[in-house]
């Protein structure tokens, strides 16, 4: 099953079990979704439940907030993270805060989902990552689907949960193949140990997990060490238990992310490691992130601006040798 099909299946199943689930966004109905995530659903559930909205992101999320207040379970699709910026007032000032400001009187069972990240030459206004901003806002659950099976389970959970969830996808993952096990009872807040290892913990999420996995054989060969790879899955809250267990075993942490390095999400993970795991660490943490430039259009420059399997290998090997790993 493809990643986009797994997302489609999650929405389909949620809609079939609960008629309060509605989907809204640009092109989600008749067109079937820009990334074909909602393909076929309008035929099944009708235009009342697959709502084609104008290009008005603030309203897409704002309307979803009002729908959720009134007892529906809206799933709002924003075409890309960059456009979600237009809806940040509704995401941050309303979606994240109404429950707290109303002392629990208002419940917002809603999901806002969008893809982000560097795809192929879409330039800076279609390539950014904003998890660092969203995770800095208390009141939002932020999930990042890098894995097909996780995408299915986590999205279904998000739709049927009573809390507001921002569900982040990645532009380049929609056609990724994977197995989905619907019978599994998967905890969406638990980090996924993609590969076990004993010497270095490499933490990542979304598409970078795949790039890390591509780099790992070479890293292990060059350093003569074994790597444990962890896909965070839930960015807020973070499954620090899994990270802690891994760090106690390996004593070294690397975070790989596609976001710009300054103020990045990964800085928070490294900061946790420094504060909480200092005495378990045998080496200074390593952060591998995108360069602090708006993502360029030119393919060579674009690839130079973000981590790739090649640069991930290079940086980790260099760091490993310097730290005597």
């Amino acid at each position: 099953m493809l990643y986009r099909e797994a997302l489609n299946r999650a929405i389909d199943e949620a809609m079939s079990v609960d008629e309060t689930v509605v989907v809204l966004g640009e092109d989600v109905g008749l067109y079937g979704g820009s990334y074909r995530v909602t393909e076929g659903l309008v035929a099944k559930y009708g235009e009342e439940r697959l709502i084609d909205t104008p290009i008005a992101e603030l309203s897409i999320v704002g309307n979803a907030v009002g729908m959720a207040m009134a007892g529906l379970r809206p799933v709002a699709e924003i075409m890309t993270a960059n456009f979600a910026l237009l809806a940040f007032d509704q995401i941050i000032n309303h979606m994240a805060k109404y429950r707290y400001m109303s002392a629990g009187k208002i419940t917002l069972p809603m999901v806002v989902r969008f893809p982000q990240g560097v795809s192929r030459q879409l330039a800076a206004q279609h390539s950014e990552s904003y998890e660092q901003m969203l995770c800095a806002v208390p009141g939002l659950i932020v999930l990042a689907a890098g894995d097909v099976n996780y995408a299915y389970h986590a999205l279904k959970y998000a739709i049927l949960s009573d809390d507001p969830v921002v569900f982040i996808e990645h532009e380049l993952l929609y056609n990724k193949k994977g197995e989905v096990d619907p019978s599994e009872s998967l905890d969406p807040f638990k980090a996924r140990v993609v590969k076990e290892g004993k010497d270095v913990t490499i933490v990542s999420y979304l598409k970078m997990v795949d790039d890390v996995m591509e780099a790992v054989p070479e890293i292990e060969k060059k350093l003569g060490k074994s790597c444990e790879v962890i896909d965070l899955c839930s960015l807020n809250p973070v499954d620090f238990r899994t990270l802690e267990a891994s760090l106690k075993k390996t004593g070294a942490i690397v975070i790989v992310e596609e976001d710009h390095k300054t103020g990045s999400y990964g800085a928070q993970i490294v900061s946790w490691a420094a504060e909480e795991m200092f005495y378990s660490l045998d080496a200074a943490p390593l952060r591998i992130a995108a360069e602090d430039v708006p993502v360029p259009y030119n393919r060579t420059l674009e690839l130079a601006s973000i981590p790739t399997p090649g640069t991930i290998t290079e940086r980790i090997v260099e760091w490993g040798e310097k730290n005597g790993l």
């Binding site: 609960d18 509605v22 009342e48 709502i51 909205t53 104008p54 008005a56 603030l58 309203s59 999320v61 704002g62 309307n63 979803a64 907030v65 009002g66 729908m67 959720a68 207040m69 009134a70 007892g71 529906l72 809206p74 007032d89 509704q90 000032n93 309303h94 109404y98 429950r99 707290y100 400001m101 109303s102 002392a103 629990g104 009187k105 208002i106 419940t107 208390p138 009141g139 659950i141 959970y157 049927l160 949960s161 009573d162 809390d163």
Partner: protein, 321 residues
């Protein structure tokens, strides 16, 4: 309008004004902090709109104490919220600008200018989907009609024929800037004309407001789609307690006060319904007692416990269904 309703609207207007005067006093005394936006002068609109839209969902702004009370929320709990106490409607976490009570279909208390309008659109969509025809009323000031959220909402509500009543409470000032300096005309309903039926009412006349809101609600309940109602009002105080309102002349304020909604209603009660001065005084005394009780309650209430700091961020115990 029957006598009983007229009397009730009058009582709640008086209650609202006395409540606001008490809030002002306790703000000056330091019992209430943060932002405090008083409704004094606009009670006729606030009370009558709530009474008229008795059933249905209401979304409004940060100038909402009087509306919240007219909607049925306990003045004690509203005052306690202003004091930031644990007995407040939002347990001291929302303050003056964030009064919510879904059991009274009252959603705010929203402090982002125009931010509640798209939420109301979504609620109207949900009500239509659920087959409920009470409709939704969203109240905002004239200053909110210049932001993108407003225009997005007009477009969507009208395209979808939603049972939504847009109400612009036009007091002529976007905070401290005269609306005609930031919009090309005085009446903001003009902006809605291409999208929906628009109506105008004298917001200083509670009976007229009541009737206009009733009429508009009947329209939106009939499947006709959204309606835009503009109520021209005057606020006597500044935008908030931190605004001395030096931008308004004494003459302008005097013209405002000559239209006082409470005095106007008093005249109606005495001339049309034959109420005597004693009866009016008794209503005023009852309202004052209610306000005094609210203040005493707020004052005596406990501060929130520190453990509440972390409560209600997420829906603990609400199982994933």
């Amino acid at each position: 309008m029957n006598k009983l309703l007229a009397e009730e609207i009058y009582y709640e207007m008086v209650l609202g004004r006395l409540f606001e005067l008490a809030a002002k006093e306790h703000y000056m005394a330091g019992d209430i902090a943060g932002f405090l936006h008083l409704d004094i002068g606009q009670e006729g609109f606030s009370v009558a709109a709530m009474k008229a839209f008795e059933k249905g969902d209401v979304f409004t702004t940060y100038r909402e104490h009087v509306m919240a009370i007219a909607r049925g929320m306990d003045p004690k709990a509203v005052m306690a919220e202003l004091f930031g106490k644990a007995t407040g409607v939002s347990r001291g976490r929302g303050g003056s600008m964030h009064l919510f009570d879904p059991s009274h279909f009252f959603y705010g208390g929203d402090a982002i200018v125009g931010g509640q309008i798209p939420n109301a659109v979504g609620c109207a969509y949900a009500r239509k989907y659920q087959g409920r025809d009470d409709g939704v009323m969203v109240i905002f000031g004239d200053g909110a009609t210049n932001g993108g959220a407003f225009f997005e909402s007009l477009n969507i509500a009208s395209t979808q024929k939603l049972p939504l009543l847009f109400v612009c409470e036009n007091n002529g000032y976007a905070i401290g800037t005269k609306i005609t300096r930031v919009a090309p005309f005085e009446k903001q309903a003009k902006k809605a004309e291409p999208y929906m039926v628009t109506m105008e009412v004298d917001g200083m006349d509670a009976i007229a407001v009541y009737e206009a809101v009733r009429e508009a609600q009947h329209l939106i309940q009939s499947g006709h789609g959204p309606v835009f109602l503009e109520a021209m009002t005057c606020r006597y105080e500044g935008h908030s307690m931190s605004d001395p309102a030096t931008y308004r002349s004494k003459e302008e304020l005097a013209i405002c006060k000559a239209k006082d909604p409470i005095e106007r209603m008093e005249k109606v009660l005495t001339t049309t319904y034959g109420m005597g001065t004693e009866q009016l005084e008794a209503l005023k005394a009852r309202a004052q007692q209610t306000v005094d009780d609210a203040v005493a309650f707020a004052d005596a209430s406990a501060e929130p416990e520190l453990k509440e700091l972390f409560e209600d961020i997420f829906c603990k115990g609400c199982a994933n269904v």
